[in-house]
């Protein structure tokens, strides 16, 4: 286990370095001057020059990169060009929206998808199986922003049960905050659940034909116990892989849902920062996301070991 963690840590640092250099260079060739975006079309050249100096944009590329990356590793990400406040503060403000939203969505979709997938597999070829898979088919096809709009029309405009959008903030209390995340979380969760249910079903079906299951049944376990104790547990490995991918996606890939519900999340922060050429924010958020993807993969790998003892020894060989 210890070499495994050490290997992971080293690859984390290497990935951060590579990602940061790539992001820095890519953003550098992107046309558009942050100072010009801030001052608009009526600004005069000397004002532009003064702002560029103030933001440190007149310094050479190498120097800007070094001062940013050396701060990055000690948690000082620098100041946002447009907002003028520390990037860490901006990111922290957004993470308290995006992280709970992602967790709510992933929990909802898991709670919904795994039992349905297993149930569907256990009724393989029968009517309930067809019904669940039909629903899943619709779930995969329906875009989450459309679901979101539908929910807003029903729950906010028509029934006035939940807010149409916006985020109350955690300081307004847990319930108001959760309430504003409820509809977006469900909108994100349903299409994800559909995918997850299909993966679960096919994975369980596959394990049902494995030798160890026949052995288990031969030893006298009833069908139900054999299914849950042996088949499902082994079938979860591909499911956990998909969940890991979904979580990484949810953390920053929810720009559209955040727009539909006007949530101040990470997705919208990065979208806005790109539009305003707030390069330091874009760089920081992308590298932080890279870190989070690596961490999620790490957790997924650890989970493999828990689920399947055969993988415990060789996990670091991935």
């Amino acid at each position: 286990m210890i070499p495994f963690i050490f290997y992971r840590l080293m690859s984390l640092v290497a990935t951060v370095l590579v990602a940061s250099i790539v992001v820095f260079l890519v953003l550098e060739v992107l046309p558009g001057d942050p100072a010009q975006v801030m001052l608009g079309v009526n600004a005069q050249p000397d004002t532009l020059a003064a702002l560029r100096t103030e933001l440190g944009l007149d310094q050479p590329l190498m120097q800007r990169y070094i001062s940013w990356i050396s701060g990055f590793f000690v948690g000082d990400f620098g100041n946002s060009y447009t907002y003028g406040v520390p990037v860490a503060e901006l990111v922290a403000d957004r993470v308290v929206v995006s992280l709970p939203l992602a967790i709510m969505a992933i929990v909802l979709s898991t709670v919904l998808a795994i039992p349905l997938g297993v149930y569907s597999a256990s009724k393989h070829g029968k009517a309930p199986d067809a019904a669940v898979m039909g629903l899943a088919q619709i779930g995969v096809a329906v875009p989450n922003f459309w679901l979101g709009l539908l929910f807003i029309l029903l729950f906010a405009v028509e029934w006035k049960l939940l807010p149409a959008g916006g985020f109350a903030g955690w300081d307004a209390g847990v319930w108001p905050a959760v309430k504003s995340l409820l509809l977006p979380a469900v909108s994100l969760a349903l299409p994800q659940a559909a995918i997850l249910a299909r993966v679960t079903r096919s994975s369980v079906l596959e394990t049902l034909t494995e030798d160890y299951l026949r052995t288990a049944r031969a030893k006298g376990l009833n069908r139900r116990t054999a299914l849950w104790r042996h088949a499902v547990r082994n079938a979860l490995i591909p499911v956990v892989t998909i969940m890991g991918l979904q979580f990484s996606f949810l953390l920053a890939g929810t720009i559209i849902i955040e727009s539909v519900f006007t949530l101040p999340g990470l997705g919208r922060l990065i979208f806005q920062a790109i539009a305003q050429r707030d390069l330091i924010v874009v760089e920081t958020v992308i590298v932080l996301l890279a870190v989070s993807v690596i961490l999620v993969n790490f957790i997924v790998d650890l989970t493999y070991g828990l689920l399947d003892p055969r993988l415990r020894g060789g996990a670091h060989g991935h």
């Binding site: 149409a164 916006g166 519900f261």
Partner: protein
């Protein structure tokens, strides 16, 4: 026992409902499309900054009112010397900043000198260019001397970029704005909203609203839903023209369509082929049916314009009939200019929907006179770089939302590369004219000159599509300056 509790509970709810009904509402939540990058109007050009703080949090010596006229603000009166060079302002007494600091002439001096300094990042530094010196004859008097007579000076001082700040708090105004206005800043939940509350020591008339919240909703359907659900009391300029009929039909809401300072133009690169030839510029002007652009791209909202001045401006001259739709004339002009066999032009479009939608229609209309249009969508930063800075374009569509910005045509270098010594001379004369009637006359000549030279194709004035709760009164229907002035807003009983 159980029954008693229920009765008490019901009584409590009923009481709460009654008192809520009896008390007039004194808060307002208003939707805005864009979140301001920060809240210092003296350090950025984003319209969203002024839309939150202008007249609400910050005040200048003068201000623009809802009719676009210059009115006293922190200066209660002024006199101008005979030669038009010295302005003597008398400041209001008893004015304090929100942190308690006392306002006097030294703050005016500080604010203007800061804006004029070499390292100033004031986006409208040019407003202060005529100033030669500022003096404080008394704590409640300011004397400003100009280098040359400037007829626009009093209205220039009314811009958000010329508000008065306190030396002690100026550096933090981006995140914690401290002004002299009737509302003070409470907090900013980034990405979501800015909250203001009434400032009890305000020097002027007390405002009716005890608190106001600006919520940032950029998505058109989210904006519509928030208004329909009653989450928002008002949207000063809702980004969903297609939803206006549904809102008009809702008895709780009122729709108010006004005008803005946004002249929407099909800008032409006068500095390069083929638009260095006036015949080609005029051909494009003749080829476009601008009313059908408004109908198609703006759902019929927006006023026709024929030059670079808003119809609500007192000096506006109606030139919309100068280039009526005439495809034959357009083709004839193209042929004379040597493009009888057709022409290919690049049309660069920034992200706003007015630009993208108008662009499609314009391309279709130009195809009818044999002009092949290649549409190139750009994001805003890219547009600023390629079109604005490097003038690498043929045509583009953009709305110029700054008030009184005809000055851009007199600049030596500006992206449509219009260089007319006559226009420059005329503009110089306009600025130096102190008599309002005379200035109005010259402003008319300026508009005619732009139209005659067909510098750009003047499409339409951007509408201000306001929607608000039927009980809200006192909001501005037009937008003569980028502001959501809440000082006269109140709820009907």
């Amino acid at each position: 026992m159980k029954r008693k509790i229920i009765t008490l509970g019901v009584a409590g709810i009923a009481f709460a409902a009654m008192t809520a009904g009896a008390q007039a509402k004194d808060s307002l939540s208003m939707g805005m499309v864009l979140e301001p990058p920060h809240l210092d109007p003296t350090a950025g050009s984003a319209a969203a900054i002024d839309e939150v703080v202008y007249a609400n949090v910050f005040e200048g010596l003068t201000r623009i009112d809802r009719n676009g006229e210059v009115k006293p603000a922190l200066a209660e009166s002024w006199s101008v010397s005979e030669d038009g060079l010295t302005y003597n302002f008398k400041l209001h007494d008893g004015v304090t900043f929100h942190d308690g600091a006392v306002f006097d002439c030294s703050d005016v001096m500080f604010s203007f000198e800061r804006a004029m300094a070499d390292d100033s990042v004031n986006a409208q530094k040019r407003l202060f260019a005529p100033i030669s010196s500022i003096a404080c004859p008394a704590s409640d008097k300011v004397a400003i001397t100009l280098k040359e007579p400037t007829g626009t000076f009093l209205s220039d001082l009314a811009w958000g970029d010329a508000v008065i700040v306190d030396p002690a708090s100026a550096a933090d105004n981006k995140t914690n704005p401290v002004g002299t206005g009737p509302f003070k800043f409470k907090r900013w939940v980034k990405g979501d909203r800015v909250e203001l509350v009434r400032y009890d020591n305000y020097w002027g008339d007390k405002v009716a609203l005890a608190s106001a919240t600006f919520k940032f909703v950029s998505d058109p359907s989210a904006a519509t839903a928030a208004m329909m659900a009653g989450d928002l009391d008002a949207f000063a300029n809702i980004p969903a023209p297609e939803a206006l009929p549904a809102m008009e039909a809702n008895p709780n809401l009122k729709v108010h369509v006004g005008t803005t300072e946004g002249e929407t133009i099909l800008a032409l690169n006068n500095g390069a082929k083929p638009f260095d030839d006036i015949r080609v510029r005029r051909a494009i002007a003749y080829a476009l049916d601008r009313q059908s652009i408004i109908d198609g791209a703006m759902f019929g909202q927006g006023a026709l314009i024929g030059s670079h001045v808003a119809p609500h401006n007192p000096a506006y001259v109606d030139l919309t009939g100068r280039y009526p739709l005439n495809q034959d004339e357009a083709k004839k002009l193209l042929a004379e200019a040597g493009y009888g066999d057709g022409l290919t032009l690049r049309l660069m479009l920034p992200p706003p929907s007015y630009a993208r939608r108008s662009g499609e229609i314009i391309a279709a209309q130009l195809a009818e006179i044999g002009v092949d249009v290649e549409i190139i969508p750009l994001e805003w930063a890219q547009w600023l770089d390629q079109v604005f800075k490097r003038t690498d374009y043929d045509m583009t569509i953009v709305s110029h939302t700054e008030p009184a910005d005809i000055e851009i045509y007199a600049r030596d270098k500006y992206y449509f590369n219009y260089h007319s010594p006559e226009f420059k001379e005329l503009y110089k004369k306009y600025v130096a004219t102190l008599d309002p009637e005379e200035a109005k006359k010259i402003m008319g000549d300026l508009q005619r000159k732009l139209s005659e030279d067909s510098v750009n194709v003047f499409l339409f004035q951007l509408p201000k599509q306001g929607v608000w709760n039927a009980k809200v009164q006192g909001l501005w229907e037009n937008s003569p300056i980028q502001a959501n002035d809440l000082t006269e807003v109140h709820w009907a009983q």
